[in-house]
């Protein structure tokens, strides 16, 4: 184990810097975002007007529902599912 000198350990610690905080935060939020996605899709299936609003301007429709689209991790999937 003499190969693990201080210099090598230091270099190995430095090889894994943190991912950008916003990326990690979005990944942590996946369970909540998944629940929101399921609710939005369910509502779009039951409410034609809401579905039209989502298709016409997804970002604005999400904001109206209290979901911030710029940090919401499932935007593409929602777009696919309500198409």
């Amino acid at each position: 184990m003499s190969g693990y000198d201080i210099e090598r350990l230091s270099r190995l610690i430095g090889m894994l810097p943190p991912a950008p905080a916003a990326w990690e935060s979005a990944a942590r939020e996946l369970p909540r975002a998944r629940r929101e996605l399921d609710m939005l899709v369910e509502r779009a299936e039951a409410d034609a007007e809401f579905r039209r609003a989502l298709i016409a301007d997804l970002e604005s429709a999400l904001r109206a529902e209290g979901v911030e689209p710029t940090t919401w991790p499932l935007l593409d999937e929602l777009r696919r599912r309500v198409r």
């Binding site: 190995l12 810097p17 942590r28």
Partner: protein, 201 residues
């Protein structure tokens, strides 16, 4: 979602504490049971690794790396039930990340050279091997006392200055170097102990 939590545990746990105290297999089992704190801990445990594979080994530009990063965790979340052995989550995530990076490189290459069969450069395999080692070192680091964990991570992984560390941790700047040195000694002891035959966790 119903949290699959040990009923004996009353106090809320931080994701950092969870991440340090649970094995990969236990963390996966908790995530599969719908424990959102455990999911946060899993993201914390693997986020640097996924990021490093995408940015360092595959040299993806930041916006592509972000897409890969989010896609990796989305798939892990969706497909955790398909993982055959819970303790194999790390190689599974590594494989998934590599595959998505390759897809991203191929897609980019198709856009640039649509009329050729050229494929982009593959990953730096030597660097990938070093990232595995780096993950093991961080795993040992996570088990050190918080004061050592913080100071080593801030100095070597976050590239913070003595002054910034001193301010953040309320330590005299003149003591930072000696603290780093002592903590590195502790890390080496912990890491070597961890890797001795018969002491594997």
């Amino acid at each position: 979602m119903e949290a699959a939590r040990d009923p004996r545990e009353a106090a809320p746990r931080s994701t950092a504490a969870l991440s340090a105290e649970l094995s990969d297999a236990k963390l996966v089992a908790l995530c599969r049971g719908g424990d959102e704190e455990a999911w946060g801990a899993l993201v914390e445990r693997f986020s640097r690794y996924v990021y490093a594979i995408a940015v360092q080994a595959f040299r993806l530009p930041e916006h592509d790396a972000e897409d890969v990063f989010q896609e990796v965790f989305a798939r892990v979340y969706e497909r955790l039930d398909t993982l055959r052995e819970d303790e194999a989550v790390r190689p599974w995530i590594a494989q998934l990340t590599r595959r998505l990076c390759i897809d991203r490189l191929r897609a980019g290459s198709r856009e640039v050279t649509a009329d050729t069969a050229e494929l982009p450069d593959g990953p730096d395999e030597d660097l990938l091997a070093q990232l595995e080692e780096a993950f093991d070192v961080h795993d040992a680091l996570a088990r050190l006392p918080e004061n050592c964990r913080e100071i080593l991570d801030r100095f070597f992984a976050r590239d913070e200055s003595y002054r910034a560390i001193g301010e953040a941790l309320e330590l005299p700047a003149g003591t930072i170097a000696s603290r780093i040195s002592r903590c590195l000694d502790k890390l080496r002891e912990a890491f070597e102990g961890r890797n001795k035959p018969g002491t594997a966790s």
